[in-house]
């Protein structure tokens, strides 16, 4: 049922606690998102889970196999796209797919079929004869991700796979991954792009400074912050006294980003909005634009990371 079981896993580099005592489980057949700011420990976690590095402590089961005792057995069943680019500079795109299949012991006839299929699916037909060293960064990333599908696997690790991809390539990749999950693949996916996680993931863990600070479904994470909404008001004119005018309003948090932009976070948004509008009206202050949106994951994420900082 679970294909990743991590118990009190840690990785220390000297005094740096890259991964600090994390515990998590990932269900089979879902996309698990691993979210966190730079240096949070995402890549280190992926390297631990894929047996590239040895943990400083804790235990680790991948696909039911003890990954510390039998790393090779684990590696035979997983796919890994690391954050760092990897390619054979002098090989052409099609040759590098083909050779990668060979390295995974895929029979020759099957390799041919898969290469053609992936060249198509990842829009690589036009560049199939180009050498990897001559590709653009985004093209190279696409080849790197495509290559991993040359072999069969039960579990795929992707460390920020969409970095460097344009919006259309990004969306295509996410849809491709969704499809694969529908056919039974489990994906462990890191990113710091929240919309991506929202779009793709069934469950999300937020990690910061080596510690997991929340694990839940995207919807539940949003619900946890209840009815909180974000109201944005853009004023026509820059007004210094606006701060003092609005200072009497309770039950909300107001940010005066510039003299004309006001952002309000509140769980009582309707009430707060009415009060603000009345004050603005009384003082004959013109509004250029106004919007009220449910707080998105991005803000939840920033908030959590921020709170995590202040807890230190």
């Amino acid at each position: 049922m679970f294909c990743i079981n991590v118990d009190r896993l840690s990785k220390f580099y000297g005094s740096i606690k890259a991964v600090n005592d994390i515990t998590l489980s990932v269900k089979s057949g879902q996309v698990f998102g691993f979210l966190g700011p730079n240096g949070a420990g995402k890549s280190t976690t992926i390297k631990l889970l894929t047996t590239l590095i040895q943990p400083s402590g804790g235990s680790l089961k991948i696909l039911g196999i003890d990954a510390i005792k039998n790393p090779l057995q684990v590696r035979n069943k997983i796919g890994v796209v690391l954050q760092q680019p990897s390619y054979e500079p002098t090989l052409t795109v099609e040759k590098s797919l083909e050779k990668y299949g060979m390295m995974w012991d895929i029979p020759k006839s099957e390799r041919k079929i898969r290469t053609e299929k992936l060249l198509n699916e990842f829009d690589l037909i036009e560049i199939r004869k180009k050498r990897n060293e001559d590709l653009s960064i985004g093209q190279r990333r696409r080849v790197q991700v495509a290559r991993e599908f040359m072999h069969d696997m039960d579990l795929l690790f992707l460390d920020e796979p969409t970095v460097g991809l344009d919006p259309s390539a990004r969306r295509k990749l996410l849809d491709y991954l969704k499809n694969k999950v529908n056919t039974g693949l489990t994906i462990f996916f890191t990113t710091h792009i929240l919309t991506e996680a929202e779009y793709l993931c069934d469950e999300i863990a937020i990690i910061d400074k080596g510690k997991i600070i929340a694990v839940d479904t995207p919807t539940a994470l949003k619900n946890r912050f209840g009815k909180e909404k974000t109201i944005k008001i853009h004023l026509l004119k820059n007004l210094q006294e606006i701060k003092s005018l609005l200072s009497g309003i309770v039950d909300c948090k107001i940010e005066f980003n510039t003299g004309t932009d006001i952002t309000i976070h509140s769980t009582q948004s309707e009430l707060v909005l009415m009060k603000i509008l009345r004050i603005l009206n009384e003082n004959k202050i013109d509004i250029d634009d106004l919007s009220a949106v449910p707080t998105n994951l991005e803000e939840i994420f920033l908030k959590m990371v921020e709170e995590n900082v202040s807890n230190y």
Binding site: L52, R75, P89, M103
Partner: protein
Amino acid sequence: MFPIIRLVNRNLTISINPAFLLWQIIFPVIYIFIAGFAYSSLIQEVPFGSKGLAYPAFLASGMIGFNIMNSTLVSGIIIWNDRKYGMFEQIMSGPFTRPNYILSNICTIGIIGLVSAALIAVIGYPVFFDSIQFSLVTIPLIVFAAVTGSVLFGSIASIIATKLRSSEGFNVILNTAFLFFAFVSTAFYPASGAPEPLKTAFYLNPLTYLVDVIRAGIFGDITEFVILEMGILTIIATTLFIIATKLLTKLDF
């Protein structure tokens, strides 16, 4: 198929290209013919055991040793490129172990070394024709030299590759080391003509031992000293191989 064979397949695919073949095969052959005959007016005959060797034959046999050493550059370049272009991590996260990776590199250079030594021997055959003495031990001796030579110099190249991150540094150090090995050895000229300090330096150099063993094989003059040299080669190769393996196993990601 075994993991090591798959890695060797991949290593050969990425290493063999026209520039490499030119450097590995064409250049030594041209050198044997041009330099061999140009210098034979200066060096008429090289004393070798109980007989004398014509200089072109002496040079061609030395070139086989030089070539085995050079082919091990491939191993250093593979390791260095794999680290630079992320393939080392990628391979290590796949169905392979570190010993698989190291052994596949050694096999790769062994194959390249043997094939290029054989090619040079075949193409150079006319120049050693007179003095050649194939016997039952000839071929095993040359194979022994190719294998220990590959392991020995391959380990040196691997050690340097694991220690350096910049390509300039890597190329400069490896080329300097190999150039030094080549010229302070009996690969290109006999020790007997050289001044005393150089003569001693020749015998601090594993390439000299390698070339001596190859010559003993080709020209059929296996002395006690050659057997001692084989022992020394084996010890140095084993030690360096263990060091290289240790370093490669410790490489962090």
